[in-house]
């Protein structure tokens, strides 16, 4: 079943008086449970694709479907609702809320999603934090954790609400290679266990090696789209 679909998507950024085409007619579809990497050099349009999939941005032309629902024309407030319910984000710089503990950071999307039962919230939060290997770090604040641990919290935060789609923009770029690999293994493990769809952007060969499918972009166009069977 298709979880997301892009149809002839164009995106033009207006920088001053210059129009900068970031995407020039992209079309692909993502199936449920995929572990997909958007690869390409910087400026190729990776982040733009993730922003569009994440309903953070709208295409200049073309259509975007999430679970067969056209989200292209939705107003900003509705897009926020879509993000709240269906999409988890993992950022390159972790972006945890510094004043909240690991538990509270992970619990946050559940509160936003309207889960009022605090016992249930705590159960889900503890479960996912344990799963990402942070059983002993529930009450640590971000500045009391390493980069790898923070990114684990971020992964837990993206997954706790059981989203349809997790988008990770260069999730290992700020980590050393060993920690980066651990995070990817964690994401892959969760992908296999929960069938959550992961889409991540990268230009790192090591990261691509983890992907089950790689879409390569160049100058805003798809250069190649191939399924791989590696690790």
């Amino acid at each position: 079943m298709s979880i997301a679909k892009l149809e002839n998507v164009h995106k033009v950024y207006h920088i001053g008086k210059i129009d900068f085409p970031a995407l020039r007619g992209i079309a692909f579809s993502i199936d449920e449970g995929e572990f997909l990497s958007i690869a390409g050099p910087s400026g190729s349009g990776k982040t733009t694709v993730l922003n569009l999939l994440g309903c953070l941005d709208k295409p200049s032309r073309g259509k975007i479907f999430l679970e067969d629902k056209d989200v292209t024309a939705l107003p900003t407030s509705k897009l926020a609702d879509v993000r709240r319910k269906n999409i988890g984000f993992v950022f390159q710089t972790f972006n945890l809320i510094p004043v909240l503990t690991a538990m509270e950071n992970v619990e946050f999307p559940l509160i936003l999603g309207g889960l009022h039962d605090s016992k249930e919230r705590h159960r889900l939060t503890e479960e996912i934090l344990t799963e990402v290997g942070l059983k002993d770090f529930f009450h640590r604040r971000p500045n009391e954790m390493s980069g790898g641990q923070q990114q684990r919290v971020a992964v837990a935060r993206a997954l706790v609400k059981r989203p349809k789609l997790v988008l990770a923009d260069e999730p290992t770029a700020n980590l050393d290679s060993v920690t980066g690999e651990e995070i990817l293994e964690l994401m892959l493990g969760l992908n296999q266990k929960t069938s959550t769809t992961f889409v991540f952007s990268t230009h790192d060969k090591m990261v691509m090696d983890f992907a089950r499918r790689i879409i390569r972009l160049r100058d805003g166009k798809i250069e190649s789209d191939q399924k791989v069977n590696t690790k």
């Binding site: 994440g54 926020a80 709240r84 710089t93 972006n95 809320i97």
Partner: protein
């Protein structure tokens, strides 16, 4: 909502130094404002009390024409039958006391020195019911009826170097235009130091019968001063007196202290307009503090705001986080402001604030003010006003930064380096 509050609360303590600076701006600004309001209210009430207790009483019954000329203290507009009016009003339960008085232009001569003054002829047995002069005698004693003695205001006595027991000459003008006067040789029986510097500086008191004889007024007086039991019933009592007087077929006027001291009332009104500026300035300081703090917070937390938006937080919720932050700083700042205002106000109410540290010369220059010690009047209303104002101002001041936060494009915000 609980989560938003928690987030806001923790963010307040995230940038401690900045929070403390903003907190201080609000607490000092609004605290001083509260003290200012206490002082203003106190001065307003006490100054009016001081004028009533030493100069105007609550009401004055005057002969027609007197009021227009009152600054000249003329002797030609007199009440001819004061006793008759007194007995007519005797039944009125609202009246605490009525005193027959004569005000006249005079001067005090001591040796080679002569100083102009206001002569007040009083009924020593009735005066304590209407005025506070008896209680303000600091040296000597109060007058007895008909005795040839005089009481001097304390500043006047000091300027002439006179003390209790000294003799002086009171020159009483029957007509200043024609320079007709009479003089009495009197012994000083007391020095009055009232709360009203004007009275201390320029007033002398003698028994009524003495003045009536010296000024050839027979039984006539220039005014009847009335003190009433309840100041809130002022206009009712005034009307009832007026209608009783009408039965005598006279057209005597009944004038309230507000009209008598209209110059001072006007002065207070003008001051209250100036006084509005002080809270406004304090509010401005607090507002700038909050706006500055919150704008810095928005700038520093741009990426965090982008992330919150990416997670699907609604604009209103992002706004609320910042507004709550402002409100929390405002709440604590205002509570501290109430403490400052409460302590300051309490001190001003209990001890007052005297200008005497400025030295005799300056206090003499300021003696047009109807009081020497400025006392505050601390009310719960003032503190409540300070508290509510602080919180409301903080919330309003946070709105603009909060609006700036939600106007951020999540993508740009996430890319922000800082």
């Amino acid at each position: 909502m609980k989560m938003l509050l928690k987030l806001a609360f923790r963010n307040v303590f995230r940038y401690r130094r900045r929070t403390v600076i903003t907190f201080s701006a609000i607490s000092y600004g609004l605290g001083l404002m509260a003290v200012g309001i206490c002082l203003y209210n106190g001065v307003n009430t006490h100054a009016m009390d001081s004028i009533i207790n030493t100069q105007t009483a609550h009401l004055k019954i005057l002969a027609p024409g007197y009021f227009e000329e009152k600054d000249e203290v003329p002797l030609e507009f007199t009440i001819d039958e004061p006793q008759r009016i007194k007995s007519l009003l005797k039944e009125n339960k609202d009246i605490k006391g009525i005193e027959s008085r004569i005000l006249f232009q005079a001067s005090i001569i001591s040796g080679m020195e002569e100083l102009p003054c206001l002569g007040v002829a009083i009924e020593p047995e009735v005066d304590p019911l209407v005025f506070d002069i008896k209680d303000s005698i600091k040296d000597g004693r109060f007058l007895e009826p008909s005795e040839p003695k005089i009481i001097l205001g304390s500043t006047l006595a000091r300027d002439l170097g006179l003390e209790v027991g000294d003799d002086c000459v009171l020159r009483m003008f029957l007509s200043t235009e024609d320079f007709i006067w009479n003089a009495l040789d009197l012994e000083i029986t007391g020095i009055a130091h009232t709360e009203n510097p004007t009275v201390n500086r320029q007033t002398v008191f003698i028994p009524l019968s003495l003045a009536q004889e010296a000024l050839s007024l027979d039984n006539r007086v220039t005014e009847l001063a009335v003190r009433i039991e309840d100041r809130n019933r002022l206009s009712d009592v005034r009307e009832s007196i007026q209608s009783r007087l009408a039965t005598l077929g006279t057209d005597y006027e009944v004038v309230s202290f507000k009209e008598y001291a209209s110059d001072f009332v006007e002065l207070m009104k003008m001051r209250s307009r100036v006084q509005v500026l002080i809270p406004l300035m304090m509010i401005l300081i607090a507002t700038l503090g909050i706006v500055n703090t919150m704008l810095m917070a928005v700038l520093e937390r741009t990426r965090e705001i982008g992330m919150l938006a990416a997670m699907g937080m609604r604009k209103m919720e992002v706004m609320l986080v910042f507004v709550f932050e402002g409100a929390i700083i405002g709440l604590f700042g205002s509570l501290a402001a109430c403490a400052i205002g409460g302590l300051g106000g309490w001190y001003l109410e209990a001890k007052g604030f005297s200008l005497s540290f400025l030295g005799e010369e300056i206090t003499d220059m300021l003696s047009f003010l109807p009081m020497e010690v400025f006392r505050g009047d601390l009310t719960a209303g003032t503190l409540l006003f300070t508290l509510v104002l602080g919180i409301v101002v903080s919330i309003l001041a946070s709105l603009y930064p909060a609006y700036k936060a939600v106007k951020l494009d999540p993508i740009q915000a996430l890319r922000h380096v800082g």
